[in-house]
Amino acid sequence: MTATSDREQMAYISSQAADARVNVELDTGDMTLNIGPQHPATHGTLRIACQLDGEQVITAEPIMGYMHRGYEKLCEVRTYPQCTTLINRIDWLGSFANEVPFILAAERLMEVEAPPRAQWIRTILFELSRVANLALFLGDMGVQIGALTPVFFAFRDRERVLNQIEEVTGGRFHPNFDRIGGLKDDIPKGWIEETRSVMIKMRTFCDEMEDLLVGNEIFQARCRGVGVIPPEVALGYGLSGANLRASGVDWDLRRDANPGLAWDQVDWRVWTHPDGDSFARYWVRLQETREATHIVDQLLDGIPSGPIMAKVPRIIKVPAGEAYLSTENPLGEMGYYIVSKGDLGPFRVKIRTPSFNNISIVPWVMKGVYVPDVITILGSLYFILGDIDR
């Protein structure tokens, strides 16, 4: 018996025992509560069918597919450039970051490498999407547990980052800017300075969140010790990103499996937290947002000059082969397994999205918690519906 199922069973038994004690006295029936598919906390169309005893959850089973768009199938009928625009829409908050692993995987098969300037700008945009994405989480987590204001701060300050992304790529959410062999265009004049000032604002935003939520005793009471995920369980379920690091696993693909972007050129650190609870997940993401602004700052200083496009044929045909490449996206490890048969388009694309794995732990982690904790845990696991359903 593995550690996972051991713990799972223990948690279940203890919750059952607690139920039994109550049931003997009151003999209450269970109630099924469908949280979603239209529910503010699921920010999208996820449904969680909870079996409740009073306010205590006995089982929670996520039901999804309300937004399944079949991207793996759609990629098969598209050419490589056409795929890029599609996969923009998987994790719509971390837009640019979606494109990068796909393009890198295709580049790996084609054995081309983007010039350094393109790699740096890619990294900058990648980190900017991370900031934009996580900023929304930092505010949204507040609204999940009842604080109204943080989410407005998040929208306010995320907008500045999105404007920066839009100024370069032309798209706020769907940049479609990454190309096999480089980038579509170079950065416009004056952008570096603007981005610097935006990064300062984002750090102020992080400070505000620290004062408004992290330090708040009510927030801590709601999040500490709620939804604890031990590291071995996290690994077994394939959790990734901040969810994994909040469980104390020191693993960041940017550092541990850098696919050639400029992360190794700058000085930064990976944040982990030993607790593995909802608070730890929030805290790690907060630190990561701040770290990302520092990464952007350093990268802005040292963009090398040169071309932004390697020599690639105008009509892109990727040689036959298979490649799996994943990067550390805002939500976690996003990877593309591309099978090519030398055609204009991929033969098969398997999209490994972070939220799918992250949410698959829900039935395990939600045993015996209260209804409000369901929301806290869902919020702190941080998923994007498009990223689960694809």
Binding site: Q82, R117, F153, G170, K184, L212, G215, P307
Partner: protein
């Protein structure tokens, strides 16, 4: 210094923001409330936010440059560009030459109800006939009206902004918009 309780700090953050929104002015004007200036929201129908020049709002067609080569239509992931054309004879480029056969555009429709604003068509166009403009106000009550024909697409042409200059270190050439 002992830590302030988080509850009080939180109240401070919201109060500070309220103060900044209400009294954004500095100097002797500090006490004049000016929330219109302090708020970050844009009162949309009254004032409009200018999108960046590169924003992908709507596609403009420079008809003279289009040779009906079908490249954009073929590379469109959503199959939303419809082109029809016929060949005509054009006068030779220089004296004594032979008449040339050129493509004449009959129909160039983009269905914005289907378009996903990826910009592949603009990119693949080898003759500089398609351009992005940041205009965004073209919603229609009927979905069928989102199909813009070539005249409508041509009208957008005057809203196309000039291409931006690049940041130092770039080797890209700044392109020109045909006017």
């Amino acid at each position: 210094m002992p830590q302030l309780p988080g509850l009080i700090k939180g109240l401070g953050v919201t109060a500070k923001t309220a103060g900044r929104t209400l009294f954004p002015k500095r100097g002797w004007k500090t006490l004049i409330p000016a929330p219109q200036k302090g708020a970050v929201t844009v009162q949309y129908p009254h004032e409009k936010e200018a999108p960046p020049e590169r924003a992908r709002g709507v596609i403009a067609l420079h008809e003279e440059n289009c040779t009906a080569c079908m490249l954009c239509s073929r590379s469109c992931p959503d199959w939303c560009i419809y082109i029809e054309g016929h060949k005509v004879k054009a006068p030779p480029r220089r004296e004594g030459g032979k008449p040339r056969t050129v493509n004449m555009l009959d129909r160039f429709d983009i269905d914005y109800a289907l378009c996903m604003y990826c910009g592949i068509c603009v990119e693949v166009c080898p003759f500089d006939a398609l351009f992005w403009t940041p205009e965004y106000e073209y919603s229609e009550p009927r979905i069928a009206d989102l199909l813009h024909d070539k005249d409508r697409l041509g009208e957008w042409m005057e809203t196309v902004p000039d291409f931006l200059e690049y940041e130092a270190g770039s080797e890209q050439k700044v392109r020109k918009v045909p006017r």
